[in-house]
């Protein structure tokens, strides 16, 4: 009976690996999400396409989070957008061909009779990047700080943000306070237009003078302050509830420099309800003008309910109102169907918005007042008009053996705008075209 004498070697590392694979766990070398000293990566790509190929967008998003031993995290994020297509310029459709001067002043584009006028020069690329730091201050307090920057060919936005979190009741209650400041600069193509000035027509003998008269500063800016107060409460073992109030104050240049309003002829006769014509026989379009400031309030309520089987119901409601007279309601419902290693999350959202006080689908001859507009502000941007929208979609995500997550999300968006039907010739036009869009997002977390 010979005892076999093993040398006393350390086999614990090899054994730890063997155990992890026997237990179906990620090997100790492969890290779990959120583990100190590691990076978590999140890649996603959004493909967005509007019906009748109006706008398509491809938006890759990259995010990396570094986790530190004391619970600090550093998150770096980059987004790159490529949008192509055409966007509504605000003018009404007409029973004959319309000609618009390009914002740059270089050339014109035409829109066929009965067509919703779209500015086909719409092509944009945007790059945005942010860095956020979050860390515990003490057992009951966390803080966060971040910087943000975004660049488009005519737009630059820079911001800083800070936040505080206070935990109460053994972390069953969390109070949030957040503040962010941003400064945006816009250098519109062809300089910013004077609000409510007439779009110059290239065919007019006085084009150069008209154009000069319609131009304002080359560069414009605005400042935005966002404040958020929130409370998150663990109601019971299954239920999490969140309530936020946010206030947003914007000050400065809030116009969309490329948006127009049509002026409609009210004189009884053959052109009643058609575009009002100037002395050269050209249609009159005015550049939009919005208020110089906006104060938005939003109330947000969200409840997540976890069922015993692992499924999660997520319902939320957001109410927004502002001093532009615009109010909106957003209802959102998602059900996460848990299959263990994967889940399917069907999702539905309903959005309802009233119009802003200065929203006008068009200006009347009386409002135009012979070139001295009788109003201070007007915009035909459909995003400020009365509308409702419904999105229906689903996300499917699954975990790989190494604990990485793949996801695919498909969403269909249908938006319906409403408003005054117009008069005369205008009544034959579709003033409120619908927008349908399809969004596909593919994501990978590792």
């Amino acid at each position: 009976m010979n005892e076999s004498k093993q040398p006393s070697v350390n086999i614990t590392t090899a054994l730890a690996l063997a155990c992890s694979s026997a237990l179906g766990l990620a090997a100790p070398g492969a890290h779990a999400q959120g583990e100190p000293g590691t990076w978590d990566f999140d890649l996603a790509s959004l493909y967005y396409s509007e019906s009748d190929s109006r706008v398509t967008a491809i938006e890759p998003v990259f995010s990396a989070t570094r986790n530190y031993a004391e619970g600090e995290t550093l998150t770096l994020k980059g987004v790159f957008d490529v949008l192509t297509g055409a966007s509504p310029n605000g003018a009404t459709p007409s029973d004959s061909l319309q000609t618009f001067t390009r914002p740059s002043g270089n050339g014109e584009y035409t829109v066929d009779a009965g067509e919703n006028p779209l500015d086909d020069t719409f092509k944009d690329t945007r790059f945005a990047a942010s860095a956020d730091w979050a860390a515990p201050l003490s057992r009951d307090w966390d803080y966060s700080a971040g910087v943000y920057g975004s660049r488009e060919y005519d737009y630059l936005s820079m911001g800083i943000s800070g936040g505080l979190k206070r935990y109460l009741n053994s972390k069953n209650t969390t109070l949030n306070f957040g503040l962010s400041l941003s400064h945006d600069m816009v250098d519109p193509v062809g300089n910013s237009p004077q609000g409510l000035s007439a779009m110059p027509h290239k065919s007019a003998p006085s084009y150069e003078a008209d154009r000069a008269a319609s131009r304002d500063d080359a560069s414009q800016s605005k400042n935005i302050i966002d404040l958020l107060w929130g409370v998150t409460q663990v109601v019971n073992r299954n239920t999490l509830m969140q309530f936020n109030y946010s206030l947003s104050l914007a000050d400065g240049y809030l116009n969309d420099p490329y948006k127009l309003l049509s002026v409609i002829d009210e004189t009884p006769g053959a052109n009643f309800g058609g575009n009002l014509l100037d002395g050269n026989g050209n249609r009159i379009y005015l550049y939009e003008q919005r208020p110089q400031s906006r104060m938005k309030h939003a109330l947000f309520w969200q409840t997540k309910y976890a069922l015993d089987g692992g499924d999660v119901i997520d319902a939320s409601y957001r109410f927004m109102f502002d001093d532009w007279g615009l109010t909106s309601h957003t209802f959102d419902l998602a059900y996460r169907w848990d299959f263990g290693g994967s889940y399917l999350e069907p999702h539905v959202r309903y959005y309802l918005q009233s119009e802003a006080d200065f929203y006008k689908r068009y200006l009347t001859q009386a409002e135009y007042n012979g070139g001295a507009p009788a109003l201070q502000e007007a915009s035909a941007d459909y995003r400020l008009g009365e509308m409702d929208a419904i999105s229906i979609g689903a996300k499917y995500a699954w975990r790989t053996a190494s604990d990485n997550e793949f996801s695919v999300r498909l969403e269909y968006y249908m938006q319906r705008s409403k408003g005054e039907a117009g008069f005369g010739l205008l009544q034959q036009q579709e003033l409120y075209p619908n927008t349908d869009a399809l969004m596909l997002t593919v994501g990978y977390k590792f």
């Binding site: 005892e3 086999i11 026997a22 237990l23 053994s170 073992r237």
Partner: protein, 318 residues
């Protein structure tokens, strides 16, 4: 403050193939204690941070998982995969992923231990009786039994396992520790999403936790004395990971004035001399802790040196 014992919801026979009694839950929202029987052990789950309904639900899932593993890998069940493998001499048997993972694990342990850990060594039990008497098997009985032992003699070509006639495999040496780890996984996967919870799973002294207790303290676990039955000699403090114990169950055979414990060396066919009565090891998983305590027992005299080389906490009772 203990409330009266609650019984879990009934469990369908397909989830309770050995017809164990329904698990029992006791306690209060601060701390729940669930108990059931599995693998010839008293199984206990301690649960913090939930109400009775959730605790009962989790206890039920834990028991179902333990019973599933018990039934699937027990060598006492006559119609499971292990029984089919043991009957299918020379015929390849295809095994499922979970079983294959355990065979891969057994292969790695066989290699790491230089053949001391061998899931084909169970046949030695046929010839050794540790009843306190002085009967030892004959040299020829030992050598003919050793011929049927050796993981290197089987053909393990995942997912196919082929044994030689007369060979048998037995996962009893890792089954309970594996079950503890799997139950911890089940509890982790099914605990409530929004609250913090903490669990300790204890299957007859092989145990694992999900983390520290909710007040931040470690779980206090008694390490049993071998001489004074059930009197704890040491307190292990477990804030993470697992603890497993191997022992000779105070069963022995007397031979030439020596007391030989029931730890059998598959290379010699003889009990290991001078093995401690019990060894407990703390490690990241119960499977890991159990393998180290088993291998340390097989080192006999060298148990402490072997354990010290592993760099983990351990307790030896000689």
């Amino acid at each position: 403050m203990l409330t009266e014992a609650l019984r879990c919801q009934p469990i369908a026979p397909e989830f309770n193939p050995a017809a164990h009694p329904i698990p029992v839950l006791q306690g209060a929202p601060g701390m729940w204690r669930g108990r059931f029987k599995a693998m010839a052990s008293d199984c206990e789950i301690l649960m913090e941070g939930m109400d009775a309904e959730v605790a009962a639900h989790l206890l039920r899932r834990a028991a179902i998982e333990a019973w599933r593993i018990e039934y699937k890998f027990s060598r006492y069940v006559t119609d499971n995969l292990i029984a089919r493998i043991n009957r299918a001499a020379r015929q390849p048997v295809k095994v499922d992923d979970e079983t294959a993972d355990l065979f891969d694990f057994a292969t790695q342990c066989f290699e790491l231990s230089g053949g001391l850990f061998d899931i084909s060594s169970g046949v030695l039990r046929r010839i050794w009786r540790f009843d306190g008497g002085s009967h030892v098997p004959s040299a020829s009985a030992i050598s003919s039994t050793l011929a049927l032992i050796g993981w290197h003699k089987v053909a393990w070509d995942r997912p196919y396992l082929t044994l030689l006639p007369g060979m048998e495999i037995d996962l009893g040496g890792i089954g309970k520790e594996y079950a503890v780890d799997k139950v911890v996984q089940v509890l982790r996967d099914h605990r409530p999403a929004w609250t913090t919870t903490s669990f300790l799973v204890n299957f007859g002294g092989d145990l694992a936790c999900t983390g520290p207790r909710l007040d931040g303290s470690a779980w206090c676990v008694g390490v049993e004395s071998s001489e004074h039955n059930h009197a704890a000699v040491a307190q292990a403090r477990l804030a993470t990971g697992a603890l497993a114990t191997s022992g000779d169950s105070r069963r022995f055979v007397r031979w030439q004035g020596k007391r030989l414990g029931h730890i059998l060396n598959p290379l010699t066919g003889w009990p290991v001399e001078n093995a401690p009565h019990a060894i407990s090891v703390a490690a990241p998983s119960c499977l890991h802790a159990g393998m180290l305590s088993t291998l340390a027992m097989l080192q006999g005299e060298q148990a402490e040196a072997f354990l010290a080389a592993q760099g983990l906490q351990f307790w030896v009772q000689r």
